[in-house]
């Protein structure tokens, strides 16, 4: 039998559990986190339920349909333009009142609606009482209760979706705005309706209200209309700001009338979240505690991973040794042993670090501390000319810069957002971690954890200084004030953290098997030719390439081999480590890479420090460059990011290396 199609959209305030619900419905693994603004793009998934094929779309969270930030526009446009069969507003049951504002706006859009009361466990635990029947009656919308994290209420929801699909027509409640405003609404509606070519997907009443509220996005959408001038004349005849305030007031009034009838809240109590926040956001203690926790995290990433790395290293070394002694002819043995296993193996050794890093990052996101970190940094950030919210993409950048740059979409102000996009690449991502672990581990022994921590701090410092520079020069202006909801602290679910760790860690492994493998083979070929040269010697192609750029990098303490590694590292930073593996792979394979590095007089502790700093800063990887282009929509800013990065890296490494030499190291 042909299955029937239903398209439903999940919308609602940020951090109410839309994505959790989406994952529960469709079995996907989209990113969930305990802070507002996790989802920035719409995602879709499917489920088969009974005789229906249901397409579910997860939208970014929005407080209103006013569309101040990019992710809000995504959500709004989707609901209006794609006209899903059913718009599901996911509501945080423990925070019902605030969520109702969006409800009032959604109703005006005229789509068929369904309300999902999520997080019922929290509301219940706190002792709130919500009267569902009354709520359905007052809002004229069906209400379903769920606990998305425990997959409770999913079947009820699906049944209701199907039931709603069968009721074809519906009538929603609308808010009355009082005579004066209603008259204007009617007036505008009348003018607009004369335009036969108008986009019928937009309800007239809604467009009129939005125009009265001064929505520039809607204004632009009707700007081609022949009646545009006349509609604008009406808008210009009123005090628009007063109308905007009045309309919002009327909405709140409506909420205040219905809310007490459908919910009694337990007293505002001193919750554990309040207790924790009292300390963690304390004026004096907040930042030291944040730094201490970060240091602890990096100590763990390095020190706890070491034995596991050693195990992989032992296995890889043994394997390379075995392969090169048993494969024939010699060139094949060298390709597989020195090249592939030496290079890819050098990258795979760091899988334990990457896993721990992503596990800790997901604890950071899931606990709710991430939003606090932004909050405690806001004051400092504001002084520098940055928005407090920018701190969230920066911390996310510890994992990977690509999603971090996309996370900047939740920043409303365009300039704040641009600055954030430009500085996030300085934040040290997981791909750079292997470089530090390799060199710090080799040259700094027990201090390695601290050296690595210092690299992360360096990245953040450079990011912050750059923000200050940009604010003073190319992106002038003041950051917008910080408004952000602090979510309650939660104990992160182990399952989410493990999934997050696994998905991201696995991506690292996949990268090692694809792009890094290709890179490694290219390097090996260049190291083996022209025909007859000694493998990896200065006479080979890599040798010539290295020598060509060496003069530029010599002042930073890098010889030709490191120069080659850095060139290939432009593609993906892991390749820096991989190519060290290939280039130092010649000869006896039984020695670990770090021992060979130690034995090379060309690299000292000081030049390794300079190298770590340079690789941290010198240029975002290809994927990051791509996303910068996509998000800024401008080649100019993309080129700027690249050139600026290389310059900063060169100067920083120069200061470290030459400064260190002056100090006698």
């Amino acid at each position: 039998m042909e299955k029937r199609e239903i398209k439903i959209a999940l919308t609602g305030n940020p951090n109410v559990g839309k994505t959790t619900l989406f994952n529960a419905l469709t079995g996907s693994r989209q990113h969930v986190g305990n802070w507002p603004g996790v989802t920035v793009e719409k995602k879709s998934g499917r489920i088969s339920y009974k005789e229906y094929d249901i397409e579910v779309i997860d939208l970014p969270g929005t407080y209103s349909l006013t569309a101040y930030s990019m992710d809000e526009i995504v959500a709004r446009d989707f609901i209006i333009e794609e006209k899903p069969d059913l718009v599901i507003q996911v509501v945080d049951a423990s925070n019902l009142e605030r969520n109702l504002y969006l409800t009032t706006q959604l109703m005006e859009l005229g789509s068929q609606m369904l309300i999902v009361l999520n997080m019922c466990d929290i509301a219940e635990e706190r002792g709130d009482r919500i009267y569902i029947d009354k709520m359905q009656e007052l809002l004229a919308t069906p209400v379903i209760t769920t606990v998305a994290t425990q997959k409770k209420g999913i079947c009820d929801l699906l049944d209701k979706v199907i039931e709603q699909k069968q009721i074809e027509q519906h009538h929603g409640h609308e808010i009355g705005y009082g005579n004066e405003i209603e008259e204007k609404i009617l007036e505008i509606e009348k003018v607009l309706s004369e335009d036969e070519t108008r986009d019928k997907r937009y309800p007239l009443r809604w467009v009129s209200i939005r125009l009265l509220e001064g929505d520039s996005n809607v204004r632009q959408k009707i700007s081609d209309s022949p009646v545009y001038e006349r509609a604008m004349a009406i808008i210009d005849s009123i005090d628009q700001e007063e109308y905007e305030a009045e309309i919002a007031d009327k909405r709140y009034l409506a909420i205040n009338t219905v809310f007490p009838q459908m919910c009694t809240r337990a007293n505002d109590t001193l919750t554990k979240s309040d207790m924790i926040d009292r300390v963690l956001t304390n004026k004096y203690l907040g930042i030291p505690i944040f730094l201490a926790l970060m240091w602890g995290a990096f100590e763990l990433t390095f020190a706890f991973a070491t034995p596991f790395m050693d195990m992989i290293d032992i296995a890889a070394t043994w394997f390379a040794d075995y392969v090169s002694s048993s494969l024939h002819p010699d060139w094949l043995a060298s390709l597989v042993g020195d090249g592939i296993i030496g290079g890819v193996g050098a990258v795979l050794v760091f899988v334990p670090n990457i896993f721990i890093l992503f596990f800790l990052l997901s604890l950071l996101e899931g606990s709710g501390y991430l939003a606090r970190a932004a909050f405690i940094m806001d004051k400092l950030m504001y002084k520098i000319g940055m928005h407090g919210k920018s701190f969230i993409p920066m911390l996310m950048g510890f994992g990977c810069n690509v999603p971090a740059i996309m996370a900047a979409r939740s920043i409303e102000d365009d300039k704040d957002r641009l600055i954030t996009i430009l500085i996030v690449p300085f934040v040290s991502c997981g791909a750079r971690l292997p470089i530090y672990v390799l060199f710090a581990g080799t040259f700094f022994g027990r201090q390695a954890g601290t050296v690595i921590f210092a690299m992360y701090i360096l990245g953040i410092l450079i990011a912050i200084i750059s923000a200050k520079l940009l604010r003073g020069t190319v992106v002038k202006g003041k950051p917008a004030p910080f408004i952000m909801e602090l979510p309650p602290y939660r104990v992160p679910t182990f399952k989410t953290s493990v999934i997050h760790m696994w998905d991201n860690g696995f991506m690292y492994i996949k990268k090692a098997g694809s792009i890094i493998l290709v890179g490694v083979v290219v390097i090996w070929i260049m190291a083996s030719f022209p025909w007859g040269v000694e493998y990896g010697s200065e006479a080979s192609y890599v040798g010539s390439l290295g020598h060509a750029v060496e003069p530029l990098l010599k002042p930073l303490g890098f010889d030709w081999k490191i120069s080659v590694a850095l060139i290939f590292g432009l593609v993906a930073k892991e390749i820096v480590v991989a190519s060290m593996g290939v280039l130092y792979g010649a000869g006896d394979n039984s020695e670990a890479l770090s021992e060979r590095l130690l034995a090379d007089p060309g690299i000292t502790a000081l030049s390794s420090l300079s190298l770590m700093a340079f690789s941290l800063l010198y240029m975002p990887c290809v994927a990051t460059v791509g996303v910068i282009k996509k998000e800024t929509g401008s080649w100019k800013w993309t080129m700027f990011a690249i050139i600026y990065g290389v310059l900063v890296a060169w100067i920083t490494a120069f200061i470290i290396y030459q400064g260190g030499r002056l100090l006698g190291y």
Binding site: T269, L270, K272, R278, A292
Partner: protein, 168 residues
């Protein structure tokens, strides 16, 4: 933050958390200072210098670790100051102090577990002298106090839903 309650008298007595915080906070700060001087002494005077007590108290010459100890101590003492001034929410500091102390103890123990694997499983040459006591440090043994408090007071930090008052 709104605390519903008719009078100050309804607020629970904070004496016990206060005494606990004074003792724990002082210990953390004292050992933090010792560890700091040990770390600085090592840098300024060379590796042979011994600050008194550092040996028997398992104090490593680790400056960052010293700051962590001092920080935990400060959190406890900060709470004492609030509680002494009659601000009942000062217990929050005892609660968070306990949590942070436990977090860092777990980090140290995990790191130590890693070293144990190196020493006994992988038989790494760098770890031939390693024993279970090599990684002992104040950050681990001092956490015994917060741990006991955490277990004993698990429910204490759960505010009653009706009143928002802690069951002290």
């Amino acid at each position: 933050m709104v605390i519903k309650g008719d009078s100050v008298n309804e607020m629970p007595d904070t004496r016990i958390p206060m005494i606990f915080s004074i003792i724990t906070g002082t210990l953390y700060i004292f050992l933090g200072l010792l560890q700091l001087s040990s770390g600085i002494g090592r840098i300024l005077l060379g590796p042979d210098v011994q600050i008194p007590l550092t040996n028997i108290l398992f104090i490593p010459a680790d400056i960052i670790g010293a700051f962590v100890l001092l920080l935990i101590g400060t959190v406890f003492i900060y709470g004492v100051m609030e509680m002494r001034n009659g601000i009942y929410e000062g217990v929050s500091y005892a609660y968070v102090g306990i949590l942070i102390a436990l977090i860092f103890a777990s980090i140290y123990i995990l790191v130590s577990t890693g070293n144990m694997l190196e020493a006994y499983l992988l038989k790494n040459e760098d770890f031939v002298d390693w024993t279970l006591l090599s990684d002992m440090r104040p950050g681990i043994y001092l956490a015994a106090l917060p741990l006991i408090a955490f277990i004993k007071w698990k429910d204490m930090f759960d505010p009653t839903p009706e009143t928002g008052v802690l069951k002290l």
